[in-house]
Structures are given as C-alpha cells and as structure tokens.
C-alpha cells in the first residue's frame, strides 16, 4: 500500500503498526506502570489476574498488603502483618497498614508449608498471583505492575511511553509497513525495526537501573539483539 495519510485504510494500518510497536516497547522495557488494589478473599490464596480483568497485566513490580486497622494506636506499631516494613501514608491519621511483601516461589512456599510466618507473594506463569498465607477479611494487595499501553485511537491520541521514545515508534510503524512489501522495502523496514529494538534495549537498561534502585521485584528483559535472526 502506498503511504498516503489521507487514505483511511493507510491510517488504520499505520495506527495498528504503531500500537503493536508501543505494546512491544512496553513489554521489552517495562516502562509503563500502574498501581491497583486487589481485594483479597479470606481463604483464597491464588488469583488469575487476567481473568480478573487486569487485561494490561505484564508482571508485578511491587506488592503491598493493605490491612485495615480498627485501632490507630496499634497501626502505628512497626512489624505489621509479618512483613518487612510498615509504610504508613499519614502516620497521624493512619487507618491502614501497608506492608511491603517480599516475593517467593512455589518451591519456597512448599518448603515452608505451615512454618511460614511472614506473608509473601509470588507469581507463576503469565498471571497466577499467589500468597503463601491466607488473607483475612478486608485485606487488599496494592499491586504495582508493569502494564501494556492503551491502544491509540484517532488523530489526537498520544502514545503513553515517554516522549523521548515516540520517534522510535514512528520508525517501528514505518518499518513494519515496509516489511510487508518485501524486497528493498523490507530491507529498509528491517533497518528501522533494528533501530527500534536498539532504542528499546537502551530504555530497558535505564528502567532496570531505576527498578533496582526502587527495589522492584522484576526488571526488564536483558535483550540480546545479536541472537535475533
């Protein structure tokens, strides 16, 4: 298809290509985050995040356990519900405890079994979120997670990834459209896609440094572009 911004079909194809590029960029770099509460059900320790409507889910970055407090005096005490640190939002009027949960694995959970004292969380596969101890009534998991972007729709939509990365999205969109044509167009398109991946790798390395500093539990993938065929 000839590049023609006035052609609706071309617009739709270009938008699809850029949306795909933005989703890939977010997947490779974990640059987009969101924080949402998950209502925990007493007795339930396993949750499928995608089935629960967290459609933009990629991986969890940080999980805090929110426990309602009936007595604000108790809430100010350190220790919380077996966690590592208490992070009150407003110590003077606190009505909840926010306890950072450390990550665990199913193997560690099996090894500890009933001996576990501190609540931990884990994730298995692409969306199975679990806790090693049963939550109590009213508790929530406040989950900061890497997410997929919202699709661009219409002329005025703005990509969610950082402004500095918008240029490489254009490269991706152009590269993908050229790639479909084969021959010389594909060669040009492949070069643009390669540039996009190099930009994603660079951004991912920056996000990794920031994630480590923030104590996040997942970092962006370490891309090896030489391994790509």
């Amino acid at each position: 298809m000839e590049a023609d911004p006035s052609n609706l079909a071309w617009q739709a194809a270009a938008t699809s290509a850029i949306n795909e590029g933005q989703r890939l960029f977010a997947f490779l770099t974990l640059t987009l985050e969101a924080t949402r509460p998950l209502d925990l059900t007493p007795g339930i320790t396993f949750y499928h995040m995608l089935d629960l409507g967290w459609d933009d889910w990629i991986v969890p970055l940080r999980v805090r356990l929110v426990t309602p407090q009936s007595d604000s005096t108790d809430a100010a005490l350190p220790g919380g519900v077996g966690g590592d640190a208490v992070v009150p939002d407003q110590p003077a009027v606190i009505d909840t405890l926010k306890t950072k949960l450390r990550p665990t694995t199913l193997n560690q959970m099996a090894a500890e079994d009933a001996a576990a004292e501190n609540m931990r969380y884990g994730v298995a596969g692409w969306d199975l979120f679990f806790l090693n101890l049963q939550p109590t009534a009213g508790q929530q998991a406040l989950i900061t997670y890497a997410r997929s972007p919202v699709d661009l729709v219409g002329d005025n939509a703005v990509p969610e990834i950082h402004d500095a990365d918008h240029e490489c999205l254009i490269d991706y969109g152009e590269g993908r459209l050229r790639m479909n044509q084969g021959g010389q167009e594909m060669t040009t398109g492949s070069a643009l896609i390669k540039g996009f991946l190099e930009d994603a790798k660079e951004r991912g390395e920056q996000v990794r440094v920031r994630s480590l500093a923030q104590g996040y539990d997942h970092q962006p993938a370490e891309l090896d572009l030489d391994q790509l065929t």
Binding site: M1, A9, A12, A13, S16, A17, E20, R23, L24, A26, F27, L28, F46, H48, L50, D51, D55, D56, W57, I58, V59, L106, N107, M109, A110, D113, A114, A124, G125, W126, D127, L128, F130, S148, R176, M179, N180, G182, G183, M186, G189, S190, I193, L197, H218, P220, A221, E222, L223, D224, L225, Q227, L228, T229
Partner: protein
C-alpha cells in the same frame, strides 16, 4: 486477549483488505498458524500456570485424573497441607509396597505414574477432602470460533508475527522468504522477554 481484534491488521500485513481477498490462505489456516505458535510457546515457556482446587479426595483412593491440558505439576496440597514431590523411583526406594499403602495422612505426590494426566497421593487419604494443584498447562485452542485467550496483549502480537511468518513461508506466488525471516527475527525478541519474565517450560 481477543485475537480477532488483530485480524484487520493481519489482513493488511498480507496486503488484503478483507477476508474474502485472502489468497492462497484462509482465515482458518491463519488461525491454525497462530494456534500452533501458542501451543509451541505454551510448552517451551512457563506461560499458563493454573490453580485447581476442585479435585475431590476420596478415602482410600491413591490415583487421581488431572486436567486434560496438564503438562506438569508444580505444587500440590491435600486439604491445605503441602505434599512433597516424589518420583516412582523414589517411592519404590522408600516403600516397596507404596502402591498398596494403608490409608493415612497424605505426605507425598507422585507425578510420573502414568503419562501426564494422573497423579498419585501417598499414602491414600483417610478422609475425603480436596486436592489442590498448581500446574503448568497447555494453552487452549485458538480458532475463529474461540479467538479469546487470557494472555498478555504482547503475546497476541507475537502470535500475529508467527502467523505472518508461516503465511509467508508457504510455497506459492505469495511466498516471501525474506519477509518471513524478518518477521521471525522480530518474534524472537518477544521470546527473549517471555523467557525472562515467565521462565522456561517443561517441554
């Protein structure tokens, strides 16, 4: 994620404006390519992990049938008590008569008794209860009639790229090996991330 939402973009990548223009491919064939790619990564990476707490433990019964899509058991518990993983060889070394053991409080699960779809509990439970299992599962089918699979959006894009790769590999006038190779290379980038985030699978 509804794979059907990617259909217009998939058609555009094949230089078709609608399904009726698909030639030599059919929409069913393209879905087959996507499904094969999904099943491939579903075994190679630890993507679909599910919890099943619905298997009823029967007093005195040691063997239980698992979900038909089961690939590997990762964790098992009997009525809330964690069971230790064991192999048949380990059980034979531990107790030569383990298959006819007397009922008691379940301590172990054995995953390689008979193919992929059965699990044994040792000793057989004395009381009824529930077997709770976390398992690595094979992804479901992906067809035009059932295009939705609970998966991250980026994995849908990965399936699209593998679909286009296979479509462009197909012998005939529309074959474009260079395009297929380039699309496959891009799909490999997704695989690097999936391996990093979700881990290697059992197959």
């Amino acid at each position: 994620m509804n794979f059907a939402t990617l259909t217009p973009w998939m058609l555009e990548c094949l230089n078709c404006s609608n399904v009726s223009e698909l030639n030599p491919w059919t929409i069913g064939e393209l879905y087959n390519y996507a499904e094969e790619a999904l099943h491939d990564i579903g075994g190679r990476f630890l993507l679909l992990v599910t919890f099943d707490g619905t298997i009823l433990l029967v007093s005195g019964q040691s063997t239980y049938e698992l979900d038909g899509l089961h690939i590997a058991t990762i964790y098992a518990a009997a009525s809330g008590s964690t069971l230790r993983p064991s192999t048949v060889a380990e059980m034979e070394a531990l107790d030569p008569g383990w298959e006819e053991a007397a009922i008691g409080t379940p301590q172990r699960w054995v995953g390689n008794i008979s193919g992929l779809h059965y699990i044994a509990i040792y000793p057989p439970p004395q009381y009824a209860g529930y077997l709770q299992i976390v398992m690595h599962k094979h992804p479901p089918d992906l067809t035009p009639a059932a295009p939705s699979v609970a998966m991250p959006a980026a994995v849908g894009d990965y399936l699209l790229l593998r679909t286009l790769e296979r479509a462009r590999q197909r012998e005939g006038e529309m074959q474009m090996p260079d395009v297929a190779q380039a699309l496959g290379g891009l799909a490999d980038a997704y695989e690097q991330a999936m391996r990093a985030y979700y881990g290697k699978g059992a197959l």
